[in-house]
């Protein structure tokens, strides 16, 4: 359940941004979560509800932007799309892949008041 820890980190960032950028309430939080990131979206949503209770984000909506997984195939010399870390290259079957996207865990933007 590291989603709980991730949500606590999100809330920490929100609180510090609220001080810096001068807002008091958050309506919507957009997170960018890569498809290869080790994050369970439903657990994230559940944890966020719990963690944000009685905070400036209480009752806010959590929107998740999924980023597809891509990797650089060293055999083909090009970027290919993958669904999981241990996928083979869809073109040549090699496992010599370097993940290039899909590991993101970022706070993208907020709708605040």
């Amino acid at each position: 359940m590291h989603e709980m820890a991730l949500c606590e980190s999100v809330l920490q960032v929100l609180e510090s941004e609220a001080r810096k950028q001068g807002f008091e309430r958050i309506r919507t939080v957009w997170l960018e979560i890569g498809e290869l990131a080790n994050v369970e979206i439903s657990a994230m949503a559940f944890s966020f509800d719990v963690v944000s209770r009685n905070s400036l984000a209480d009752g806010s909506a959590l929107e998740i932007i999924r980023v597809p997984g891509t990797a650089w195939c060293m055999q083909c010399g090009k970027t290919v799309s993958i669904q999981q870390r241990f996928d083979a290259c869809p073109e040549c079957g090699s496992y010599q892949l370097q993940v290039t996207a899909g590991e993101e865990m970022r706070i993208k933007e907020l709708e605040v008041e």
């Binding site: 820890a5 950028q21 080790n38 870390r85 241990f86 496992y95 970022r106 706070i107 709708e111 008041e113």
Partner: protein, 293 residues
């Protein structure tokens, strides 16, 4: 709340401390993130989402954040890494599922290597100080972190725990993470390498079941190989799976009970430790020559 770095909530405890007491802050804390964010100016527009509302009618606005969720942990990890480098300490993050024989492997390693070079241990468990006591019985300095409900160590806890250890130059610091193949993969502690321990009683498909961990690890120790005659464990398949998720991973087969393969692991440790020190000697010599000029 800690007034120095803002920490303190949660249930984690460092052994011997009831409260999160800070008397000295020897390690460098990451700089407070107070510089203006570069996106602030261009994206901080005072309109509702999708411009559905006339300006002034709706007080809501969009704020671009663009920060890594683990950004704060990574700042602490960077500070730990810098400190370990400065001290000439090789820090390793030992990760595995519970019951892989991690603590047994560690105590054997410490018993065999104690006296050859300085050693220290940070023990992470949800509860109890039993493991740290097992370690201290080998004569090696150890400190326990109890994470409470936490399922992993984070860089902030490790930074504080490290303050309680006398980390001499050339020391190998073993950080035994909470037994869990999922969460510790995401949390950088400032270590030089993650070392994954997988016992052959666990099943050969662990590397693809928990790919993030095996992707993050630089070395895989396949433990309990003395049990191979009694099990149906396909070592080749397991190593093949591990290399699928991480083509660069090094793999050593060993048994902490019989001692088979342990020498290879020690050799790996000595080489990592020496390479850390070679850099330091070069730096020291260079600055000496600089001074002589």
């Amino acid at each position: 709340m800690c007034t120095v770095c803002g920490c303190g909530e949660g249930e984690s405890r460092i052994e011997g401390q009831h409260e999160h007491a800070h008397h000295e802050h020897g390690h460098a804390h990451p700089p407070s993130h107070d510089h203006p964010h570069r996106h602030e100016q261009d994206l901080n527009y005072s309109k509702g989402p999708a411009r559905a509302h006339a300006p002034g009618m709706d007080p809501s606005r969009m704020v671009a954040i663009e920060q890594d969720i683990l950004g704060k942990n990574n700042q602490y990890a960077d500070a730990n890494r810098a400190r370990f480098a400065q001290l000439g300490v090789l820090a390793l993050n030992l990760v595995s599922s519970p019951g892989s024989g991690k603590t047994t492997l560690l105590t054997r390693t410490l018993t065999d290597l104690n006296g050859q070079f300085p050693l220290a241990v940070i023990e992470g468990d949800q509860e109890t100080t039993q493991d740290a006591e097992r370690i201290r019985a080998t004569g090696v300095e150890a400190i326990q972190i109890n994470t409470g409900k936490g399922c992993h160590l984070d860089a902030h806890q490790v930074g504080h725990a490290a303050q309680h250890l006398s980390l001499a130059e050339g020391c190998v610091l073993m950080i035994e993470n909470v037994g869990n193949l999922v969460c510790p993969a995401a949390f950088d502690l400032g270590e030089q390498h993650k070392v994954a321990i997988l016992s052959i009683t666990e099943g050969e498909d662990k590397p693809i079941k928990y790919p993030d961990m095996f992707q993050a690890a630089g070395l895989l120790l396949l433990n309990k190989i003395d049990l191979l005659p009694h099990l149906q464990f396909d070592i080749d398949r397991c190593t093949d799976y591990a290399r699928r998720v991480n083509p660069g991973i090094q793999i050593i087969q060993l048994s902490a009970t019989s001692g088979a393969g342990m020498e290879q692991w020690y050799q790996w440790l000595r080489l990592q430790r020496e390479s850390r020190l070679i850099g330091r000697q070069n730096t020291a010599e260079a600055s000496l020559q600089e001074a002589r000029r």
